[in-house]
């Protein structure tokens, strides 16, 4: 009960901060419209990530977390992935658009998420490795089944809001840009709605935590 109260208090403070964000505009302008067209690409990106990351973690196991190759892939910031994509994208194809954004997003997010999941998997030496590959796969599957939902709840807000750099560089309006536009435009109601939506996500993930503790 206590963690619940503490968490709720933090979200309440975030809501109050969003509502009372200081600052003013030269001339009041209407807030930007919510980018509904970005929901489908964002949903697609999150779905691919939600499937690919657990699958790769299942295939690689906990040892994947300490692989240098994965760390190398994880190290470059979003900016570098977007820059590399723009540099490699043939000019005759036109701007990279949503497809390019999806590729850069997965390249930037997937290695980190795979390592996050792999590091959370239980050790396999000496057991269940001693019992054979069949048991290892089953053990990983069961562990990932427990992990995946909480992982989604913990990481989803970050994926939805942290794609700002990619969106700006590739010129694809999305959810990250929307969040930042509301800060710049002092759309306190819109910001509060964002905080409330993320708080709701946290609230929905609480029963999963309780189950894991018991």
């Amino acid at each position: 009960m206590r963690p619940m109260v503490q968490g709720a208090a933090i979200w309440l403070v975030a809501l109050v901060l969003a509502w009372s964000l200081p600052g003013a505009l030269w001339r009041p302008i209407p807030p930007p419209p919510f980018p509904t067209h970005a929901l489908l690409p964002a949903g697609l990106a999150v779905s691919i990530l939600a499937l690919a990351a657990p699958l790769l973690a299942w295939l690689g196991g906990p040892r994947l977390a300490s692989r240098r190759s994965l760390a190398l892939l994880e190290a470059p910031p979003d900016l570098l992935w977007a820059g590399a994509l723009l540099a490699c994208w043939p000019a005759s194809w036109g701007p990279p658009g949503q497809v390019g954004w999806l590729v850069a997003f997965l390249a930037a997010a997937l290695p980190g998420e795979v390592r996050w999941l792999s590091a959370a998997l239980p050790g396999e030496m000496p057991f269940p490795v001693a019992w054979g590959p069949e048991v290892v796969r089953r053990a990983r599957r069961l562990a990932l089944a427990r992990l995946t939902t909480r992982w989604l709840a913990a990481r989803l807000p970050i994926w939805l809001t942290a794609s700002l750099v990619l969106e700006r560089l590739l010129g694809v309006p999305g959810l990250g840009m929307d969040w930042m536009d509301r800060v710049v435009g002092r759309d306190r109601v819109g910001l509060a709605a964002w905080v409330a939506a993320l708080a709701l996500l946290w609230l929905l993930s609480r029963p999963l935590d309780a189950e894991a503790v018991s």
């Binding site: 200081p22 600052g23 030269w26 001339r27 930007p32 067209h37 000019a91 309006p173």
Partner: protein
């Protein structure tokens, strides 16, 4: 069978025809929101409205008032203006533009509490009515100013705030704002214009270099080599970097001296020039100097200047200014602030010196925002007993009252421009455009006057 195949091919090709249209590819730095002639209010929204709509009058490349929806107008003795509408203007659905539509647009802007705040200010105290088919408008403001402000108010079809009569029809695509040429009295020549959202200046540069943009502004801080496909166009702008002083005219006298030689040309680039006068020369004002008797603070002294953080080129210029101040023994302390926080401090008068970029409306009355009690740029509570009478006497640009107003300000200024900005853009060599202080879009004919080279 062969005929069927030919017919099918023709149908297929005709469906593809819009994709072949030679579109002008452009970018917008911010999401303008849905096209709305009543509520839309931002620079990007003005661009959308100028393409999809027509105001009663337009502004020519030199800033002069030219006919648009109104074929002619007559200024009456009492200051009212009677507009005669042209008969060949049509909305996007084909219906003619009538006086009823004009009056509905003006009334809706005044009625709707969410209407554009800028347009609501333009229409304060305005009366409008249909007088035998003519649109009759009267305002407490001088008719010259009213005409120039009406040029920024495109007319929407009655009960359709998103429908205008402009030279292009508007279509919102998932990640683009697309305008297609239509039958119009301005006779637009390019097939269409497509805007993508590119908030990052480096992304604009990348897109220009790749040939994905026909028109675009490269980053200000360093001008890379222009691609062979594009040419550079430099347009004057009604934009300045202005410093406000709550410490009187003394610090401004120092800044007036320093601005002459503080900024190295390689830092200014093509985008900026040191300002010379007190009010923008692009609006027709002569370059005057401060005539205040207030003495500047004696060195050594500390001056605290707040500015908008995050603009690298501006920060470098301010560092150069700080070095210039140091030469005379002054410590110019630069205090960065986020844009909205700085505006808040300006409005609360919580500053000693503060600077920000100001974009003026394209008419001389725009400078009165410095002087009017409660004016949007009067952050220091500037006032003078003669101001009201002189402002009322400035009925047309160039009236003698302007010179008197200028003198009042020169004797007791509260703000000083440091830099005059210019717009540097790259334009595809195949496209002919007409530069203007209003930019490429907001004038008349604006984008309707663009032509592809054959």
């Amino acid at each position: 069978m062969r005929n069927h195949l030919t017919a099918l091919t023709l149908v297929f090709l005709s469906a593809l025809a819009p994709a072949w249209a030679q579109m002008v590819e452009e970018s917008l730095p911010r999401d303008p929101g849905p096209l709305d002639f009543i509520r839309g209010d931002s620079y990007e929204q003005w661009i959308l409205q100028s393409l999809a709509g027509d105001a009663l009058v337009g502004l020519g490349p030199a800033g002069q008032v030219v006919p648009r929806l109104a074929a002619s107008w007559k200024i009456q003795k009492d200051g009212a203006i009677a507009f005669t509408l042209r008969d060949d203007a049509r909305f996007a659905d084909g219906s003619p533009v009538t006086a009823g539509d004009v009056l509905w647009t003006l009334a809706e802007i005044r009625r709707d509490p969410k209407a554009s705040p800028t347009k609501r200010v333009f229409l304060e105290g305005v009366e409008a009515r249909n007088q035998g088919g003519l649109v009759w408008v009267r305002s407490p403001k001088p008719p010259g100013r009213l005409l120039l402000e009406l040029a920024r108010m495109p007319v929407a079809q009655k009960d359709h705030p998103d429908r205008g009569s402009g030279p292009f029809s508007y279509r919102k695509d998932p990640a683009a704002w697309t305008f297609i040429r239509r039958e119009h009295f301005l006779k637009p020549a390019v097939d269409g214009i497509r805007f993508r959202l590119l908030p990052d200046a480096n992304a604009v540069l990348q897109a220009l270099q790749r040939g994905w943009l026909t028109v675009g502004g490269p980053p200000a801080r360093h001008l890379p080599e222009v691609p062979a496909t594009h040419r550079v166009i430099i347009q004057p702008m009604h934009a300045q970097l202005v410093v406000w002083s709550r410490a009187g005219a003394g610090p401004l006298r120092l800044l007036e001296r320093w601005r002459r030689d503080a900024f190295p040309p390689h830092l200014l680039g093509q985008n900026a020039r040191p300002s010379r006068g007190l009010w923008p020369e692009t609006l027709g004002f002569e370059a005057r100097t401060i005539e205040s008797a207030t003495q500047p603070p004696r060195a050594p002294a500390i001056l605290r200047l707040q500015y908008v953080a995050g603009e690298e080129s501006l920060e470098k210029l301010l560092l150069a200014l700080r070095e210039r101040a140091r030469k005379e023994g002054y410590d110019l302390q630069l205090i960065p602030a986020e844009q909205a926080l700085l505006v808040d401090r300006l409005q609360r008068a919580d500053f000693e010196l503060a600077c920000s970029m100001v974009v003026f409306d394209p008419h001389p009355w725009a400078v009165l925002e410095y002087l009017e009690p409660g004016g949007p740029m009067n952050f220091t509570g500037w006032h003078h007993p003669r101001f009201a009478a002189l402002a009322a006497a400035a009925r047309l640009p160039g009236d003698p009252a302007w010179r008197a107003l200028h003198t009042l300000w020169a004797r007791n200024p509260a703000a000083l421009p440091m830099l005059d900005f210019r717009s540097v853009i790259w334009v595809d060599k195949r496209l002919n455009v007409e530069p203007s202080p209003l930019g490429l879009y907001l004038g008349t004919p604006g984008a309707a006057g663009w032509r592809w080279n054959k």
